[in-house]
């Protein structure tokens, strides 16, 4: 079975390792993975900033590049959520990729269902349950809802030998990134970032991990500025045993 690999723009530019981890993981489970060239951005930054018409052409190209794959998989929860929630409306017709597109977390947890991952990670990590991962993709039980607890990221991480997994007290509060929000309201955005990192640090974790590199990027920016004793790492980098 062929899988189309969706690598969002900022992962391409800033976190290629996360893309490589995603690719290698899928390969390791025996999938035939293709990366259609000429991918750029899903259009989420423009749309959340108030210019969703600026993402229409990108939606068209996405559909062109990926509509022939049975599965399309990408390593960024909020980009996947954006495509799923908005493309059909933006394109004024039913969008094929809306159904075939998975975030890698869902794909692993719901389709591949691996029992364990080979490389130990003898560290303490705190899971960042990102807003769009939680409330748009349902990667974990949203704290506002009265539903039984589950967390797909945590559950996958717990299949890694020697790892210790925590979640922060405000289990799924926003980290304050919000795309253009981070420059439109920089003080509140940074304050939310500091608070969130503090909450992760209180668990005693050495790493903040999660399925959304964008949140991790924002938090890493704060960590570096404040010289805080914690690091961010995408959870795929843990699952594949990539070098830290």
């Amino acid at each position: 079975m062929k899988i189309g690999l969706f690598i969002p723009c900022y992962i391409n530019a800033v976190y290629p390792n996360v893309g490589i981890a995603c690719y290698e993981l899928l390969k390791s489970f025996g999938y035939d993975v293709e990366y259609p060239l000429d991918q750029t951005c899903c259009g989420q930054p423009m749309a959340n900033g108030g210019y969703e018409q600026d993402s229409r052409k990108l939606a068209e190209r996405f559909e062109d590049l990926f509509s022939d794959y049975e599965y399309v998989v990408g390593p960024s929860a909020s980009c996947v959520a954006f495509v799923r929630e908005n493309y059909s409306r933006l394109l004024n017709h039913e969008c094929k990729t809306e159904k075939s597109l998975y975030d890698i977390t869902e794909f692993l947890y719901d389709i591949v269902k691996p029992e364990s991952f080979p490389t130990p990670f003898p560290h303490k990590v705190s899971v960042h349950n990102s807003c769009h991962g939680v409330r748009e993709l349902g990667l974990s039980a949203a704290s506002e809802l009265t539903v039984p607890y589950f967390n797909k990221i945590r559950s996958l991480l717990e299949r890694v030998p020697e790892i210790t997994v925590f979640e922060p007290t405000r289990i799924d509060e926003c980290c304050g990134f919000g795309g253009l929000y981070s420059v439109e309201e920089p003080e509140i955005s940074a304050c939310m970032g500091r608070d969130k990192i503090g909450d992760h640090m209180h668990t005693g974790a050495e790493f903040i991990t999660g399925a959304d590199s964008s949140c991790l990027m924002h938090m890493q920016g704060v960590i570096d500025r404040e010289k805080l004793p914690i690091q961010t790492i995408h959870f795929l980098e843990i699952l594949t045993g990539q070098k830290i």
Binding site: P16, G49, Y51, E52, S55, G178, L180
Partner: protein, 458 residues
């Protein structure tokens, strides 16, 4: 980047760091109390769905429900008035009071009266208006406005209340004990209840089937005001109408749990008949509500039962305070209601949202608050109130992202930015860099890696 009104005020709010932390933590505690109770009710999500359905039914059957309410209320011996806007609402109340020569009105909290600026109007016409909700009373004595719809004075610390009471009520010096202060306020209010000429309240629900209204309070002040006076006025938006007593049962299970984390409000009172020899007036107010009904994307704001849960859960509200919003209702619901009231005037609040959707998930009547804020953002440009720099950024992204070749060569050049002198990256224009380091571009993009390692591939 030029600032929105919310962004400016939020920045200022953060300057008193201790106060900002206290504000965030206090309201988060309320959210936690809410979670504890809601999570103990297995059918909570079903209740939310039922409540939403009752509201959608009610707002789409308003003419019938209003007619039914009017008929039943009149049969109970009450007067029913209709106000199409704030002006009519104020005049109806003024006239009722004047007809009875009433000089002093005791009032329990009503956001509708804030919306329609009732107090100023009555005071200008020589009527003494006393707010009887403790929080509201504090604000009235301070000449300030609510910063939260359920906890109107949540931003004020007890030391300040103590000082205020010393000055206005003659309480003991430096006694900031909350119980003491509450007792003193009560003592003073008791006099007001006894010597006022009329009592007024808003309403949480108006029941068509019985022609009565339901008022939920924790202090019993609405009951005091209404029982001590013979002239009673109850005014509410037409969105408060629900079909039956049975449906109110669904809302009372949700309201206090969502609002303050209590199982139910201390007083849940039904007002449906005048006192012997007295008068009960009901005023049904439209003031823009039927227009909202016609707006498909925004209609669900009329589901709102004003519990304030969306404020308590909103990470931006908690860190920016109620006064950073330019509309009198703050937080997620306030951003939306402000835009519905006057999108040009209140567009400065739309930036106050990271689109985390916690509000939509916490809302007991399932108002799609975050989703509606997203929709409003799309409209700012056509309204002529969008941020020009944001547009420029979006244009820039669109320009590059629509051209894969350009995007890929930009990716190749990008690592050079890592070596640019810091003063170029961290200047006043770069709001990201103000409190955060910039992300570093990878030396090799994913795209280049793929091409290098998959030479035979396409």
């Amino acid at each position: 980047m030029s600032r929105t009104s919310h962004s400016r005020a939020a920045k200022a709010f953060q300057e008193d760091r201790n106060n900002a932390v206290w504000h965030d933590e206090t309201l988060w505690m309320v959210r936690q109390k809410r979670d504890k109770l809601s999570h103990n009710i297995p059918e909570w999500e079903d209740l939310r769905h039922t409540a939403r359905d009752i509201k959608l039914y009610s707002t789409s059957h308003l003419p019938e429900l209003i007619e039914e309410f009017e008929k039943n209320a009149k049969a109970n011996g009450c007067y029913v008035h209709f106000a199409k806007d704030a002006k009519e609402y104020r005049e109806i109340i003024e006239n009722i009071l004047k007809e009875h020569g009433a000089k002093k009105l005791v009032k329990s909290k009503s956001m509708l009266s804030e919306e329609c600026e009732l107090n100023e109007h009555l005071i200008n016409h020589g009527i003494d208006v006393i707010e009887t909700d403790l929080g509201e009373r504090i604000l009235q004595l301070m000449d300030a406005k609510p910063s939260h719809i359920v906890l109107p004075a949540i931003h004020i610390k007890r030391e300040r209340v103590g000082k205020l009471f010393e000055e206005k009520l003659g309480t003991e010096e430096n006694n900031y004990d909350p119980t003491y202060l509450t007792h003193q306020a009560r003592k003073a209010l008791r006099q007001d209840f006894l010597n006022a000429d009329a009592g007024m309240t808003g309403a949480n629900f108006a029941i068509a089937e019985t022609g009565e209204v339901v008022v939920c309070t924790n202090e019993g002040n609405a009951d005091m005001g209404m029982s001590c006076q013979n002239i009673n006025i109850t005014a509410f938006g037409i969105d408060k109408l629900v079909p039956s007593r049975e449906s109110v049962g669904v809302f009372t299970r949700l309201l206090a749990r969502s609002a303050t984390g209590q199982p139910i409000t201390t007083y849940t009172s039904h007002f449906g008949r005048p006192h012997e020899g007295g008068e009960q007036h009901f005023i049904l107010v439209d003031n823009g509500r039927s227009e909202i009904l016609g707006m498909e994307q925004h209609r669900k704001t009329l589901n709102c039962i004003r519990c304030g849960a969306c404020m308590n859960t909103c990470p931006v509200y908690r860190r920016s305070g109620g006064y950073s919003y330019s509309y009198f209702i703050p937080g997620p619901i306030g951003i939306n209601l402000g835009m519905l009231k006057d999108p040009r005037k209140f567009s400065g609040n739309v930036s106050g949202c990271t689109l985390c959707f916690s509000c939509s998930y916490v809302c007991p009547v399932m108002v799609d608050l975050g989703e509606q804020i997203y929709v409003w953002r799309q409209k700012l440009h056509d309204l002529g109130v969008a941020n020009q720099e944001k547009k420029t950024m979006s244009d820039g992204m669109k320009f590059i992202m629509e051209k894969p070749k350009l995007f890929n060569s930009a990716l190749k050049m990008a690592p050079m930015a890592n070596h640019a002198p810091r003063f170029l990256l961290y200047n006043g224009l770069n709001k990201w860099g103000q409190d955060r380091e910039l992300p570093r571009f990878a030396n090799e993009s994913f795209n280049s890696w793929w091409k290098r390692t998959h030479k035979n591939n396409k």
